[in-house]
Symmetry: C2
Subunit: 202 residues, 2 copies
DNA sequence: GTTGACAACCATACGCGAATGTATGTAACT
DNA sequence: AGTTACATACATTCGCGTATGGTTGTCAAC
């Protein structure tokens, strides 16, 4: 094969990541081979090894493509200082679920994260980064609830427990929805579900 | 090796399952080889292939060893007809978390289920059985909430949504705890956490 | 209560495919 | 001209399933 232009090379890189999403989802990360991914992308393993060091590197790139934007948004919400922070957090949760229902790529990637990969050996680093992110999120949420409680707008619920509850409830929703998306009508139930969850902390 | 007595054979079977728990947890189900499991159990692959058909069969046996008793208990709770069913359900949730914190075997196996296996190909059947169990559990919980609401002891919350919320909240707690057990003091926090969760439906 | 004989229980050996990483080739972009 | 962006070829390793071998419980039969 001849050499491609820089833009074309970037395009094949994206093709490989697209193919990785499909193959990981279908076969699981561990059982997926780079040959399958390459074939699904219409290239050979040579191309994959040119753009990525190995399978873990492909996985990380695929993950960053969808998670980094979401993380930014989350940090943005938590930085809110005014008294409407809880409402903003609730809105963020609803929007997060709606975007999950509407964005097929997010759906695929998070489905892989929750149900199609084993976070060990080569993916151990990715997992620890994920856990670190969630720790920061939890701490921020705890601080948020603490501030709100000081303002007297919330009942006397332990901020730490409240943050853990919201966090795990959303995790469980993601987990269960992605296991069987057809069992949910997330488009219509996202808001009621989040409202119900927030009833226990407000 | 010579032939063992029937009791000794059953013991090596248990040894293999014990070893499978450790190896699956350490290496993930997909990357774990039957040779590793055999070595950890102090036998050879011949013994493994005598007691089990393949890796999926080992996985199923390991899973049934801890899940079947728990499932029985759950069905028992849901069969309660009197007005204290919600309290019984809440108690069951607390006890479920406490037993998770105290029983190392349950901890290992559920950790494998949530974080160390990809439910595809050979494990697809196991997964569908799991989903079917959860469906029945959800339906029973929904019926429970419907009955309780009819008695007027609960606020006007959609029974389906209530059941889904409790279910996913517990799923999320399992998921997050098993990812990092040291981050929780489940022994002391199980009851407060479950109480907080149930605040949104009662 | 012996005694064969069969089968249970497990170890060892073999063949096979599949996946990985690297090394090398090659044509075109810059 | 030199490097980029791949394709192709090669060597190696690993794990699976099965086939085979060997020892000893187990139990019917006498």
């Amino acid at each position: 094969m001849a050499r491609r232009t820089k833009a074309e090379a970037e395009q094949t890189r994206e093709q490989i990541l697209d193919a990785a999403e499909a193959v990981f989802l279908d076969r699981g990360v561990a059982r997926a081979s780079l040959a399958e991914i390459a074939q699904a992308a219409g290239v050979t393993r040579g191309a994959v090894y040119w753009h990525f060091r190995n399978k873990a590197d492909v996985f990380d790139a695929m993950y960053c493509r969808v998670h980094l934007p979401m993380e930014d948004l989350f940090n943005q919400v938590l930085a809110l200082e005014d008294g409407a922070a809880v409402d903003a957090l609730r809105d963020y949760c609803v929007q997060s679920l709606l975007s999950l229902a509407r964005n097929p790529r997010r759906q695929r990637v998070y489905s892989i994260l929750f149900h199609r990969c084993e976070f060990i050996d080569e993916l151990r680093d990715s997992n620890e980064r994920l856990i670190a992110i969630q720790h920061r999120g939890l701490a921020s949420m705890e601080a948020l609830f603490r501030r709100e409680r000081a303002l007297g707008t919330l009942p006397n619920v332990c901020p730490r427990l409240a943050a853990v509850t919201i966090h795990t409830a959303m995790l469980g929703l993601y987990f269960d929805y992605l296991r069987e998306p057809t069992a949910y009508d997330l488009e219509n139930q996202a808001a009621p579900l989040v409202d119900l969850i927030f009833r226990c902390v407000s």
